[in-house]
Symmetry: C2
Subunit: 396 residues, 2 copies
């Protein structure tokens, strides 16, 4: 046993401009500390109903089912694949980054036969390659793809993929972890059957929950399973009996404070309005990219399909990228992310998500980079980043 317990926590108030968590609104932090309710308290059940309704609005979903999984985005990914796939099913999965690879890995653990459609990391997936792949398979249960690839910042167009999947009576599963609340997902309109997200990105809540949403078609597929999934914790047939309907059958004790925080974060999303929120993310993403390029840095993803909320910057040749991130953190109290998988050491990932997507944050980051880069052997034109970003911010 420790002789003296450790000290009370006093975390530094970081500016979180990495791939998540992002900063949260003070109203959301306050919601976390509200008095706990029991999981069958009528007051609590009413809160769950409101969260479900707000999630439907944010997902653009009529009918179907929307609820937050009691785990992080990875739990949502696993919930999707474990519930939609059974051993022997075939899944066609797009892989153009770290999270596409993870989709393929988790699908394989379900005993599914996995076929990948690949693209270079940092490039979009070609719908024609999916059409080809589906043509070569006898029967495909699922097409899965990442909407905003958090490892690269590519925004994948979805509408054509949905049509291609549905032509072959496959379901479309979409990873909306980094897109939901920052870019349009619009499930019904786009034709998405199952989407999962995470709370700590563009929704502006702390990490710990994974909001998922299912179309009626996905629910029908679940009802036709031959056997329950290997996972009990993420078994949607059981979760649904608690989340919906009059019986509220106990499954697990949900993480009450995180649900309070999500409720408040969703209120903020809907108060701002989805269109205004998307435009805000676009505006600040554009300003950041303009500033970075004015500093002489190069971006991984072409303008035509980059996400506004996550920008991958190529690390200049020979620069110690981890040391620069450390200096940003220690001297400027700013966090940005490093690369994942094959991009480890090769990119920085800058997030402007939810509350973190502000004009002030764009400017303060560019100023800090301008101050630090020369020390790491990369000369930058004086004032160029901030002034290019300001110009972009002034435009409408």
């Amino acid at each position: 046993m420790p002789q003296a317990p450790y000290a009370e926590l006093s975390p530094s108030p970081r500016l979180l401009l990495g791939p998540g968590p992002s900063n949260v609104h003070p109203r959301v932090l306050r919601a976390l500390g509200k008095p706990l309710l029991g999981y069958l308290d009528p007051e609590f059940l009413a809160i769950l109903d409101e969260i479900g309704a707000m999630l439907r609005a944010v997902y653009g979903l009529d009918g179907g089912l929307a609820l937050p999984i009691s785990g992080t985005g990875g739990a949502g990914m696993e919930a999707a694949l474990a519930n939609l796939l059974e051993p022997g099913d075939t899944a066609v999965i797009g892989v153009n980054g770290f999270f596409g690879e993870r989709l393929a890995l988790i699908a394989a653990r379900q005993g599914a036969s996995v076929v990948t459609v690949n693209a270079e990391w940092g490039r979009v997936l070609d719908p024609e390659a999916f059409r080809e792949s589906l043509r070569r398979q006898d029967r495909v249960k699922l097409v899965a793809v990442v909407h905003a690839e958090t490892s690269t910042g590519v925004l994948q167009p979805l509408r054509e993929l949905a049509a291609i999947a549905h032509e072959r009576e496959a379901l479309l599963l979409v990873d909306a972890v980094t897109s939901l609340g920052g870019s349009p997902v619009s499930m019904n309109e786009t034709g998405i059957d199952f989407a999962y997200s995470a709370t700590q990105k563009c929704l502006g809540a702390p990490p710990g929950l994974s909001p998922i949403a299912l179309s009626e078609r996905a629910l029908e597929a679940l009802a036709q399973r031959r056997q329950p999934p290997a996972t009990w914790y993420l078994d949607l047939a059981l979760l649904r009996q608690y989340w919906e309907g009059p019986n509220r059958v106990y499954h697990h004790t949900p993480p009450v404070p995180l649900l309070y925080a999500l409720h408040e974060a969703l209120r903020l999303v809907l108060e701002e309005g989805l269109e205004a929120r998307f435009a805000r993310h676009q505006r600040h993403g554009r300003a950041l990219r303009a500033g970075l390029e004015a500093l002489g840095l190069r971006l991984l993803v072409p303008e035509s399909y980059c996400t506004p909320q996550l920008t991958a910057v190529l690390v200049p040749e020979g620069l110690d990228e981890a040391a620069l991130r450390g200096a940003l953190r220690e001297e400027h109290n700013i966090e940005i992310g490093g690369g994942l998988g094959q991009l480890r050491g090769r990119v920085w990932r800058i997030g402007l998500m939810g509350e973190s997507s502000t004009a002030a944050n764009v400017l303060v980051l560019l100023a800090a980079l301008e101050a630090l880069l020369p020390r790491f052997g990369f000369e930058v034109p004086h004032g160029a980043g901030v002034s290019a970003a300001s110009r972009e911010l002034g435009r409408r």
Copy 2:
């Protein structure tokens, strides 16, 4: 989209005397709202190390591994079974309540062959029955049992079970969801190989995390798996690469506020001291039982093996138990629990866990029951409950 977003939450400040969540200390509520850190921030990693060290102290574990799973107690149960069992393994599982049944159900979903050792709900499991069962099996990988059965309030002795399991080279898995922090678990001393718990019971934190702990022997068993588990989210080989060692390989973004809260709750546990905390739970459990019996109510579990932190009370014949719980909640702002599974409608479950285990809570609950029971057709002797409890509280 909702025309007007819903109102800000204003949850009633309930006295939580059900099976969990229990009330938390104001210091824990405050910890929830501290500034978020990124999952690779050195400040955050230091917090994780402290949590691991404090969990080891509370579990009575040297060596091995202790970490909180990013999910609720049910996720901890699934993590244990999914990591310890492979298809074709045999598990001998004690079933004398709802959570024993759940252990058997989840073990079966791993493709394991499950043998149950049964006892009546509300009675302890007989170690001899385990010895018999193990003798009849060729090779048993795992013996699993619930320490404090949350559906009944039975406290299962473990030491003899550990010896029986180890004689046959099986591992002992223990559900410590309701016991950890309220009754001694003492993993090394008792001979437990894998235990999981939940934060919202006797540890005094909000729900959402499941602290698990593994002996060296359990870690060796994991290292000898023939294939990875079906679950990626709960795969301990992957989680360990983030939680331990120098590389901190990204797996998922942990639920930062819940970890802050757990850190503060563990500090409170160690400040109080484990022995003092167990004695507090004992004292208030005894007082509650004395008070309930003085009111003329009967308890499900004999005194010799009841848990102090959860007491199941038999509902008097013909009484509308759900209506009484509703009146307690609406008129007295107190939550107690109903029965689960075959005890649904037949018992109330009263929790005195963590911060909820106070003398004042015992007395206020007994007074409220005394006020309500006659209205539900059950006459009680005036003042008897409170005075019997007070007598018990005064004794030392």
